[in-house]
Symmetry: C2
Subunit: 271 residues, 2 copies
């Protein structure tokens, strides 16, 4: 992202494609780097195959986030950081841990039906008997082909520009052995000052977001959020109150610290 | 788009923002211009407000397409040209003409419920009593906030870079009088040869699309399509067989041609 930012400073916009990488962490991190420079940041990455295409049942595309960050005149930027599937494996794990059924449409089984048993889904996602659905859901009725299309856009931009690996090449297994995932990413940066005064851009963007928030709400809802707003409030709260951390997780963590001989590290945590 | 293509030839990529425009027609047209030059084309536009944000019921955002075109080694390119709502007004009109109910989730009424009476919906979309839903649907369960997020991205990129109009400014009405919609667009072009040999890019993109098509299908489905494929087949068919055109529409069209004194034009059409 730093290279893309440097290019944008020089030419108005910049793009970088990365090959043979691995999980790049929180996708939103990179657009935020651009936002700090009064620039627009866009990024995407491919990932282990898990989304089935429309009319398909096989895990083919990664959860392939397509992520945008824009500076605003508010305390926090607009940051849309989301997978092009309805959900991702981590959320299914959370449901399974809580013993909850998944909502309909999140996961498709071999028969093309929605699979909702979260514990079963976790096994079936690994064995390939189930796959995640694209944003828009199963089939064409609620426009699942659009989410499938955006996931494909991210797969192409993450692989074809740098002639890297894609889809089944990212299974992390070769000849029965675990191998690293040779993932690809792309980073695009647009220098706002090439087009207009960044202060004006931020004002217009802020106006759009504020008007959305004050628009008419569904009965029973008292807030409309814009992308990045909830995360900003959580960040503010945790800066003051600290991270929530379950006692059970802390015990497990303590065990691991002792095992790896880094128990000094534990002094940073209180129960 | 031509300016963005020229910039991409010189600098590797180019972007143009347009203000005070009007409906720019078929969004996919512009990425196809880039594709013909072995480039990637991206475009978006804002539009009359019609999508309600997540937890909202008011028409705020346009159907705001986010459109990508990529060259491939096949007879036709990858072309994803779709609104960031589940559906658009034209499709609702089609359902109303055929007297069909809308699928659940396409339209939200004032009470935050799905509205399915297509004739009623057409009236309510105009009066503002109903709004289209973002890709992902109503609420958060099937990730409607993602479609809402992408629609917002397109609204920002279409307005803030050129300090143009957005959302309610695009209602087309001022002081009770009809006025033109001062719509904004953006165009991004990426020159593939800056990154890799375009032939290699096209081969990888083609491989991704072909692997998607041959992946395991839902029972009862014998085809998986990739974006732009169906449109290509329709185009091929119509090149040979001509456009389907209803006799009723032809009568209406004949009336209009006579009214405007261009009845000579009718010799191009046969019943």
């Amino acid at each position: 992202m730093n290279v893309a930012i440097e290019k944008a400073k020089q030419f108005g916009m910049g793009m970088v494609a990365v090959r043979n990488s691995t999980h790049y962490g929180f996708a939103g991190y990179y657009p935020l780097m651009a936002v700090r420079e009064n620039m627009i940041g866009i990024t995407g990455t491919n990932a282990r195959p898990s989304i089935a295409p429309t009319f398909g049942v096989e895990n083919m595309l990664g959860t392939n986030p397509l992520t945008f960050g824009m500076p605003t005149d508010e305390e926090f930027p607009f940051l849309l950081d989301c997978a092009t599937s309805i959900t991702q494996r981590g959320k299914v794990e959370l449901y399974a841990r809580e013993g909850k059924e998944l909502p309909k449409g999140w996961v498709i089984d071999e028969n093309g039906e929605s699979e909702t048993d979260s514990a079963e889904v976790l096994k079936d996602l690994i064995s390939g008997k189930a796959a995640l659905t694209p944003l828009g859901g199963i089939g064409e009725e609620t426009a699942g082909y659009k989410g499938y299309g955006y996931a494909t856009v991210v797969e192409i931009l993450s692989a074809a520009l740098q002639q890297g690996a894609f889809m089944k090449m990212l299974l992390g297994v070769k000849d029965g052995k675990k191998i690293p995932y040779p993932i690809g990413h792309f980073f695009i940066v647009i220098d706002i000052s090439t087009f207009t005064d960044p202060a004006d851009f931020k004002k217009t963007t802020g106006d759009i977001l504020r008007e959305l928030r004050v628009s008419k709400k569904m009965p029973g809802q008292d807030r409309i959020y814009t992308a990045g707003e909830k995360e900003h409030y959580t960040w503010m709260e945790r800066k003051i109150k600290g991270m929530p951390f379950s006692v059970e997780l802390l015990k497990e963590f303590r065990g691991l610290c002792n095992e790896y001989g880094i128990s000094d590290f534990l002094t940073h945590f209180e129960e």
